[in-house]
């Protein structure tokens, strides 16, 4: 399992301060933390709570509500594979089953060598070129097992 990167309260305070001028700054702060650390470090929560005058429970409640925020960093390559209806209609279920088996992981898990994480996603707006996935943010459509594996292996 990937280790959480080192972080310090001062850097977290800097990130919070950089967003303090926004209205409703919590989500942008959490996104910024995840960009920096690959996750929202559990220990950063009290720092954010204090800066925004919220309780730790309130901040934790928000972090845990949204599917995107991670407790631990993902693997080096993140696949967001669509599970929604348009992809289902083009064999998305079977594709997902095969690819998870190939990497020997379940939804949301990371391979033992920290190489690949496969997250479920419910619609990428690529429903006209389904089945679809984002591999490190790059869209891929009309996928089959070969092209998906290729996209995962080939990405820089």
């Amino acid at each position: 399992m990937p280790e959480a990167p080192t972080w310090d309260a001062i850097r977290v305070e800097e990130i919070v301060a950089a967003h303090a001028h926004l209205e409703g700054p919590l989500l942008p702060i959490l996104h910024a933390l995840q960009r920096e650390y690959g996750c929202v470090p559990r220990d950063a929560i009290p720092v954010v709570a204090k800066a925004l005058n919220l309780t730790r429970a309130e901040v934790y409640g928000v972090v845990s509500f949204y599917h995107d925020f991670r407790a631990r960093p993902a693997g080096r390559r993140v696949v967001r594979l669509c599970r929604a209806e348009a992809c289902q209609s083009m064999g998305g279920r079977e594709l997902a089953e095969t690819v998870l088996k190939h990497f020997r992981i379940d939804w949301g898990e990371t391979t033992a060598d920290s190489r690949v994480t496969i997250d479920p996603v419910y619609c990428l707006g690529l429903c006209s070129v389904s089945p679809a996935a984002l591999v490190d943010g790059v869209p891929h459509g009309k996928l089959d097992m070969a092209t998906l594996i290729d996209a995962v292996e080939r990405a820089p």
Partner: protein, 503 residues
């Protein structure tokens, strides 16, 4: 210099548009040719993507779908002169699939460089906002009311009435919030606006702000749309140094974090405020107490992006299009297992059968169409027997369906409708915000009941239980997630009972 267009729409990128551009650059350099590559949005003919267009004397000639490996042979075959080739589709504007459409919202998408301010202005951009400023805020509001425009996010509430509510509301500041949290499977029109014609959305928001007296706008987009967000953020930067945005009105882009329910307007407002995306009870309506308790217009991307055309040509011109109480045009999205998948904008009233069989050309797999889901994951599954339903808010509602955000997902005869019903419940369980018990708990119970039905355990009793559970969800949920999940479930049971083991 010959101008060559290669789309940067995500759907084109997903099928290799970047590789086509790389190959094109390399091949023209090798041949010592000079071309200008313009990255346009998509025309909406996604089965032809990547659709490369060459500007010629007879118009923009299209080639598609083009693979990176085809470029050498295309150039050798005279592509830059627009000469015929196996993948040539002729002059794109004359393509029958485009000619059949009436585009108001998508009039520029795929035509212009989405980040070129001049291109936008040359193609009727800014006319709507300028007109609004000429006639004044009250008359601008009247134009929207006259147009009959209804909320394109799915609820179909009259947009003009909403704007009037916010205009009349008292508040030291007012907001325009654009709901770009396009989470419905089978929909991508919002994404195509943000990627293909972002200034239209900005102009629409500026018109709304002018009409109701708002000073700040937010676009709430999705983390699943990284590419759209990048383009839209650039468009905002450009717009800030133009007449579109300025001291009186500014727009900020915010990105969600993977929650479907945040597409519900009050959950979206909570999320913008930095809270859990939980649904609010209404009243108070957002027009009275919306974002941070201030009067707020919250509209879908397509509702806002329709405003510039309406102001330019007048509310009557928009209202002259359409069917029944559904006025104007609808950007319909054909998705899933359909031969001609893409975006098709027409006035309301076209039948479902015409859309699926004729426009869509049937399934991509070549097998018979068995079911279509209209209106996203909360929309009903319709069998072929309902293909005479006109595309119109009321006509779909009369048959226990919804047009929603205009997405149609096509399934062939290999679909297992019990699995689709189960997925609807599973999805509701995953995405429920947890506020209403029927949605939070009922969805999980629904999955279990469907499993029992499929296994043949007390089938009739469990079918009765499922129906009862669906009634509870429908009546006992605050928002459409719990309230509409029964549509796909019960339509699957009603029209495809054989998949549940019922004889």
């Amino acid at each position: 210099m010959t101008r060559v267009f290669v789309p940067l729409d995500s759907a084109a990128l997903a099928v290799g548009a970047e590789a086509v551009v790389r190959s094109l650059r390399a091949e023209v350099e090798k041949r010592g040719l000079k071309i200008e590559i313009i990255r346009n949005g998509s025309r909406g003919m996604h089965w032809l993507e990547p659709l490369v267009e060459v500007d010629t004397a007879r118009g923009r000639v299209g080639f598609g779908p083009v693979k990176a490996g085809d470029i050498a042979s295309l150039l050798g075959g005279g592509m830059l002169d627009g000469r015929e080739h196996a993948s040539c589709i002729g002059v794109v504007d004359q393509h029958p699939w485009l000619k059949r459409q009436t585009r108001t919202t998508f009039v520029r998408a795929g035509v212009i460089d989405p980040l070129s301010f001049d291109d936008y202005a040359k193609h009727e951009g800014f006319k709507g906002l300028r007109r609004a400023r000429e006639i004044g805020s009250a008359a601008a509001l009247d134009a929207i009311i006259t147009s009959g425009l209804r909320g394109r996010g799915g609820a179909g509430f009259p947009t003009g009435i909403k704007w009037k509510g916010a205009a009349d509301a008292k508040g030291d500041r007012k907001y325009i919030v654009c709901n770009a949290d396009e989470g419905d499977s089978g929909t991508f029109a919002d994404r195509m606006v943000m990627e293909g014609d972002p200034f239209a959305l900005i102009e629409g928001m500026a018109i709304a702000a002018f009409a109701v007296g708002a000073t700040k706008g937010y676009v709430y987009s999705r983390s699943e749309y990284p590419h759209a967000n990048t383009i839209f953020a650039k468009a905002l930067e450009i717009a800030r140094s133009s007449e579109l945005l300025g001291h009186e009105f500014d727009i900020e882009l915010r990105v969600g974090a993977g929650s479907y329910v945040c597409g519900e307007e009050t959950a979206l407002l909570e999320s913008l405020e930095g809270k859990r995306g939980q649904v609010r009870a209404k009243p108070p309506l957002p027009v009275h107490e919306g974002l941070f308790g201030k009067p707020t217009v919250i509209n879908n991307v397509l509702s806002l992006a329709a405003a510039p055309w309406i102001l330019t040509y007048g509310g009557e011109a928009y209202a002259a299009l359409g069917h029944g109480k559904s006025r104007g045009t609808m950007p319909i999205q054909l998705a899933g297992n359909v031969k001609h998948a893409g975006l098709f904008e027409v006035p309301f009233g076209i039948t479902l059968g015409e859309l699926v069989d004729d426009v869509g050309g049937g399934t991509a797999s070549g097998r018979p169409v068995r079911a279509v889901q209209c209106g996203g994951p909360l929309g009903a599954y319709f069998p072929r027997t309902l293909f005479d339903t006109p595309f119109d808010y009321e006509a779909f509602a009369a048959r226990d369906g919804l047009i929603g955000h205009g997405g149609i997902v096509v399934f062939d005869d290999t679909v297992d409708m019990a699995a689709q019903a189960r997925f609807a419940m599973e999805f509701c369980a995953i995405e429920s915000c947890g506020k209403c018990t029927p949605c939070r708990i009922g969805s999980t119970r629904g999955v279990e009941v469907i499993d029992r039905i499929v296994k043949g355990e007390k089938r009739n009793e469990n079918l009765a239980l499922l129906e009862d559970l669906c009634r509870t969800l429908k009546l006992g949920s605050l928002c459409a997630l719990g309230g509409f999940t029964p549509y796909p479930v019960m339509s699957a049971v009603k029209f495809f009972p054989e998949d549940f083991g019922v004889r």
